[in-house]
Subunit: 333 residues, 4 copies
């Protein structure tokens, strides 16, 4: 019979709760302890979860073999290092850190401790995008020429969030950079980014942008382009197309229903699922299954620390490209 | 070089003008004379068309080899007979007549005179429905099990029109009956029709209906079902599905553009083309090409007088079925 | 805090397991005991479920307040009666029985014991069809004129299954009959069914059909039509359209992904979800939540024993209509 | 009554014939003379067209008020100048010339002669793209943020064609550059182009590319991106999206039919119309109507010589950007 995998978590906010709900439904997995200074007691009690306000209690628990880091981004690198030093395997939400040197320190600690680290690039586990990846890797669309990603958020972030986010490229486009690497199976050589604060002047005043088009040259010779917006009034717009010598495959938006209403106003179908938690619901579940499977099989998870580092380096190059108004080569880790 | 085909027309109203515009663009075809008591002089002059108020002038013209009958329905049978007696080939809009005996008289005259007669079941020449027919006849969908037709008009007819129309089955559904025969390549054995005046009480008071569902049993064992409405607020709804042992093929509505608008209100595409003249534009052109080709090749047109008769007999059976509340066998011509 | 609802189940086959998996994820619900003569021990142990081979153990357990009947159809009526006599509330998969008198006996027992009974018409809880119901009941599509249901199974049933199924109308179309009642909020007055064994001769030899078109007249004046097939080679085809004075709404098939592949072969999207367990996954979860909510709120469930009876009466009328070749009035319970 | 507009044409190849067929159907327009050294006599005779092998005969004809230039691109500038010097209004297919100075000479001759000049950017008259333009100009999509154009040809050009084409940006993308200007109502300030010969090595050896992604910064602050391919195995792919503060509108591909085939292989719809003559059929008709209307109303046509010049300047900037590997500012005419 399958051995029980025992987990602990740091952080029980929105994303921590989401993952924990998924974990509670996995056979052979136990969430032993969750640390959060402001834990939602009612939620935890309803699920019979043990809680603490002290992360140290999680790190110190001998039974816990892996720590899930769902805390604020600024704490990720420190907590990865502490977890590694305590011999725990680690699942950490993106980003590891905004500073590549800090990321490298965290990865060094992981390497030294010989623990596993999975980074929360959940979109790699979305069934739509997995289908695209399969179409590329199996040769179904032939030799890859282009990847096109549209990623638009449903609503502007708060200015406070913007100020500590590291900027749109490191906060939002980083998912798309990782997706380009995932879909292509190749690396990004050079980035050219054009962007502006078109939607909200205060975002510009805070030194950030809300709209961008980013072109990427890949080492396999293919091109990729990402168009981003911080606000589409109709909701969360997440579309990808891969195009190659045998054809193209597009992943369209998911919608609440498949109904089609035909009235005097027109033929109307549903808007895309509004929020990333709904849109990527399935991917969150599958990525955690992957983490648990990697622990069981004593192998590296499908998406590791190096992926967190490289996406950050692409994001830094994108930002630099936009600021300098010229293409920038990506530091290859 | 192709010999010139010389035509004359009786009737230059909406449908007569439409066909004439198409004919004017056909190489090797000449519209020599058009008869209409209320002819639109400006329109005719702009196209250098010779006109008369007297149908007899068309029938009597020795050069005219075929007469196109675009007059009011009540005159069709008489004019077919006169045309045949004058040795003219004939294109006649549906219906030949509402009374099967009168239709048979007209067809007898055609047979006796050994002239060609094509009936205006234009939908047989619509590219969408031709594709369905091909999918059935080529075996692409395998053995045929079911045909499903949705036919809804965009707006109610006037009560005056209703009163002389012969009723919805003979006026509107007759096209769908012909389509079932065309798509299946089979005959209708039995009809069961359920219908009512749901939309407009005055249509009911005039003895007619505005909504119906009609089930047909075909001689090849397949089933067909037609749902009709005299008024869909969103426009002209013309969809067909054929289903067989190897799959299904649907013909969806045609729209003015392929644009997709995504706003806070939803994802919106175009309503169907609103009017039969727009929706079936291409079919009107192709059916007239077929008529001219049949004249040139001295062969029977693809859709003849017998098709007009049989559809009428199905319509009569449908009406009787609805009134008696039971299925009715179709008189096979 | 919410009191815990304690359940027991009779039957732990495919559908019993499915419901139980859902129940295990519901807060405040406990599956205390499952009875099945051939229980899958590994499955039960993995979920820490208490099991027995004796249904009586479930009926006799004082703590269990409701019994879920997932046993073979032929046992349903007896088990409903036993459960009622033991004062248990009841969730029972459809059908209650094939014989209306037997159904009435079961409902009498339920009424006498004053227990709640919910019948497993899960499709009422499907998000697509709920959206259609809302469009009808809210007046969004105006006054209802027509309901059109397409229901095709992906693969033929075995002849053994056919022989005990009660025939296609009672086994398969019964869901569609219930759907017509649910969507319209009205009753079926009269049925006309045309059907045949077109796909598999042996189904015909067993006295059943595999293809049908059924027309229904409703008490509110609307019409409904259902087209069924026991086998669509492309999978499970479940589409519905409601049409009224303000427009139409269609529920299209659900698919595994939203990807669109464009190759030299054409523009290709996914086939419908193949199997009813996948297609109606969400509805099974929601219907069980409804049952538990009804228990908690001490109210009747949204779909009760009478709905099981009426759908059966419509099915019987449909079968009789097909055999007699004429429309048949439905016995109104 | 409308006065007759008398036209002459230089060139009666594929595009010359297409336009002439459209002109023959326009009321009040006469094609008096067509010049082509290798004229298709059968085609001309079937349409009763007067022909000559000498362009001079067209330029010299006093009755001809406008000359349509359908000759090889290398002759365009010379023929525009000659036509202008002869006082003829001019319709000329794109490009005027590949060299901006040569274009300026031609435009100077047009200005000096005070004749009208329309350039054949037919896509401005495509109903799909007109709908997008309307959505932008009416404010329907709000303030414009992004324009995204996908333009893929169905098959590689011959190497001989490639060598004299001016390169992909001037030959193919030039239409997309004009479309960005048309849709945005704004000018292009800066271009960054990434491209390569990915599909066919010999195109690279000839100094050209077959795949590109081009980013454009507009004077109104919006961004545009164009992805091009010289070969999509599935046909001619022409999609555009405009995105703004109130939503997005996409123009999807047009297809031969709207049929949907559902088989064991999947749900299959038509590939895009394969060839630009079919895809843009309607736009060719409407652009010629615009030219004739401009002549009648003695006004400038909707798309003039300056549009031909500016698109060429953008194309030159794109080529330079790709070669230098950095963004290039566009010479503003």
């Amino acid at each position: 019979m399958m051995r029980t995998v025992i987990l602990g978590a740091i952080g029980a906010g929105r994303i921590g709760k989401l993952h924990t709900e998924n974990i509670l439904q996995m056979p052979g997995v136990r969430m032993k302890l969750m640390a959060d200074p402001y834990i939602d007691e009612t939620w935890a009690r309803g699920r019979s979860l043990a809680v603490t306000t002290e992360p140290e209690a999680v790190f110190a628990d001998k039974e816990i073999e892996a720590v899930l880091i769902f805390s604020p981004s600024t704490l990720h690198a420190d907590q990865i290092i502490t977890a590694a030093e305590n011999g725990k395997h680690i699942f950490c939400e993106k980003p590891i850190a905004l500073d590549p040197d800090r990321i490298r320190q965290a990865l060094d600690a992981v390497a030294k401790a010989k623990v596993k680290l999975q980074i929360g690039f959940n979109r790699r586990f979305d069934p739509e995008f997995c289908r695209l990846r399969e179409a590329v890797s199996s040769g179904e669309i032939g030799r890859l020429y282009q990847i096109k990603i549209t990623a638009r958020d449903p609503a502007l972030p708060s200015i406070d969030y913007v100020k500590t986010s590291g900027g749109m490229f490191l906060d939002m486009t980083i998912h798309d950079f990782d997706m380009v690497r995932y879909l292509s199976g190749s690396e990004v050589e050079e980035v050219f980014a054009a962007g502006a604060a078109m939607i909200d002047r205060t975002i510009g005043e805070a030194g950030d942008i809300d709209t961008a088009i980013t072109t990427l040259k890949l080492t396999n010779g293919a091109l990729a382009v990402i168009d981003n917006s911080r606000q589409a009034v109709y909701g969360y717009d997440q579309r990808i197309e891969v195009f190659g010598s045998k054809g193209s495959m597009q992943a369209c938006n998911r919608t609440p229903t498949r109904t089609v209403s035909t009235t005097a106003e027109g033929v109307i179908t549903d808007k895309p699922l509004y929020f990333f938690l709904e849109r990527y619901q399935e991917s969150f579940r599958v990525e955690m299954e992957e983490f648990v499977a990697a622990l069981r099989e004593k192998r590296d998870p499908a998406v590791g620390g190096i992926d967190g580092l490289i996406s950050t380096l692409i994001g830094i190059a994108a930002k630099e490209s936009m600021e300098r108004g010229e293409p920038v080569r990506v530091n290859q880790g």
